[in-house]
Symmetry: C2
Subunit: 330 residues, 2 copies
DNA sequence: ACAAAAAATGTAATCAATTACATTTTAATT
DNA sequence: AATTAAAATGTAATTGATTACATTTTTTGT
């Protein structure tokens, strides 16, 4: 592998000039520039990024902490991150954490060892051993940490869930089941809050026995639905906190002989690509997944470069998509 | 940030001893080891990985080139890569290439600039400007490059498709549609070959007009199915080259008034998590997606460290999963 | 107690780029 | 032509760890 010194020798100039030709070509005379570029071609020189990163004390790399990369929503967010990162000259290190604190810390430490310049966290944890360590550039996307001052890119989950619940109630449903995410999740709590608000506004009361817990997976949705629908008087609608659990729930409902939406309405959240193609097509909340990623990356870029980001708490718009999994109460 | 020099001063030893305490503790006496470890704790020293990587001339990082990270099958493969990489002490750089040669080359160049030690390629291209450059550690997983000597981790796609076709034929179908991937894909061609073999063995002839092209996406499956089912005499079975296209096809078939599997049988490939939960549950070929990733990573590890891998062409097992999207020809 | 061998530790070069500062060359102004 | 300013280029320090080799200390065997 040719080094900058090889190039400088062949071109008959100093290493500084070679370096400048690459980074600030306008500071180099046309004549030498040509000399250097020819030598670069001749030697097939590629600057050693490792050496450059070491010298400049930055890695041009960021870490993404994601609880599960196989989740279709997260993978879209990551796609958004990756594209923007590439545009801004950053590489993306993948940290699939399975939601494990230990792994999050391992990956977050990469910032301290200068392997990464910043972190995008998609889970609702602070990935540091010491909460006060939260000084490194970090942005929280999707599911934020309540009560921390971490910059965030979020949906207005309260409003979205409220709108969804309103839609369900407007169809005449009064006994509504909930399949929620884990208890410690901020988005879960926000969405529950929105749900309750709509109930209240409609003069309905919240029945905690109608809430089942899932883990955002297909089988967990099926299991929760099974519990809900086995009740002596099952609810006539089920609001799920993501599309996978909704799909699992519908599958289970059909298995148990219920018709969707005739006997029971089911709603999702996220609008993953499968939602539209399911039978029946899923009523859900669509979110601009890629934009979560690109906004988070842009904000992180500002933080890394000590620019004040325009906003430290971005709210992205949602959209209630009414399809055929919801219908009037019979 | 404390450096190794700070630690050495506080511990009253040389930097070499500190370095050794970390990398080869058995070469250091217990007494000094304690001294050094105390100093490390006191200073909260974390070795600068950037400096280490620079000095040792390796990044302990690999790049994964993936055509689309939002594809559920690929994201499982990546999960397998990530887990094994972490176990082996490697970080994973994500290269979402959208199948673009230009991006593949950009990412593959990271090996030349020592940003990465090796490459796992999930698409069927050679990611080098010059094919002879293919000397850096690289492993091809999932969809291999025909006629290159790149090490691979693959499915026996010919056998899998053959088995699937056999199943369809055994149900009495003779007019079978194919929804295939793009023409240049190796897995597409292999699967087509397997399909043809089963036809031949059953004494049936292959009808090129029954083959539609998709791009592995849900809508492309729906469109292809629409073409197939609009024929004066539509096929009674459709074999799709992945689950998404199969789901898209079933959705379209239902929309057009066909019943699956009564009027038409549909099969997928991959056994993504949604396959089981779809209505009807999809007959498909299951693949050990995570193992593609872990095997590829292990092989790459050997290549990077100049160990001869046990095998340079790993074939992974598949499984025909018969569910309810296929049935006897009426 | 001494020599030889083994273990522990230290010194200083090294990796490949960037860049502050010094020096030289060129251009502009009178 | 002389002076000054501006542009171009060069010199050498710097980044933080690793490690070959040199030196010192400890252990072993007699």
């Amino acid at each position: 592998m040719a080094t900058i010194r090889d190039v400088s020798k062949i071109a008959g100039v100093s290493v500084a000039t070679v370096s400048r030709t690459l980074s600030k070509p306008d500071k180099v005379s046309e004549k030498t520039r040509k000399l250097v570029n020819d030598a670069i071609k001749q030697t097939n020189y590629k600057p050693d990024i490792l050496a450059r990163n070491f010298r400049t004390r930055k890695s041009s790399t960021i870490v993404v902490l994601v609880p599960d990369i196989a989740n279709p929503f997260f993978s879209r967010v990551i796609r958004g991150i990756e594209q923007t990162a590439q545009r801004l000259g950053y590489a993306v290190l993948l940290g699939d954490t399975q939601g494990l604190r230990e792994r999050e810390i391992t990956y977050a430490n990469m910032v301290y060892t200068s392997q990464a310049d910043g972190i995008i966290q998609l889970d609702c944890h602070i990935p540091f051993e010491d909460k006060n360590d939260c000084t490194s550039p970090i942005v929280n996307a999707c599911d934020c940490v309540r009560g921390s001052n971490m910059p965030t890119v979020q949906l207005d989950n309260v409003a979205a869930a409220k709108e969804m619940a309103k839609h369900i109630i407007s169809l005449g449903h009064t006994d509504i089941g909930i399949i929620s995410g884990p208890e410690n999740s901020t988005i879960t709590n926000d969405r529950l809050r929105g749900f309750k608000q709509s109930l209240e506004e409609a003069g309905l009361s919240y029945n905690p026995a109608n809430r089942m817990f899932g883990d955002y997976s297909l089988p967990s949705g099926a299991m929760a639905a099974s519990d809900l629908l086995s009740k002596p008087i099952p609810p006539t609608a089920i609001m799920c906190m993501n599309d996978e659990m909704a799909i699992g729930a519908i599958r289970q409902a059909k298995k148990m002989g219920f018709s969707v939406p005739d006997d029971i309405s089911v709603t999702g959240f996220d609008d993953i690509s499968f939602a539209e193609f399911f039978d029946p097509p899923l009523t859900t909340i669509s979110q601009p997944a890629e934009e979560f990623g690109s906004n988070a990356m842009e904000m992180l870029f500002d933080l890394i470069n000590n620019k004040e980001p325009e906003s430290k708490n971005i709210l992205l718009p949602f959209n209630l998509v009414i399809r055929e999994s919801t219908g009037n109460k019979k």
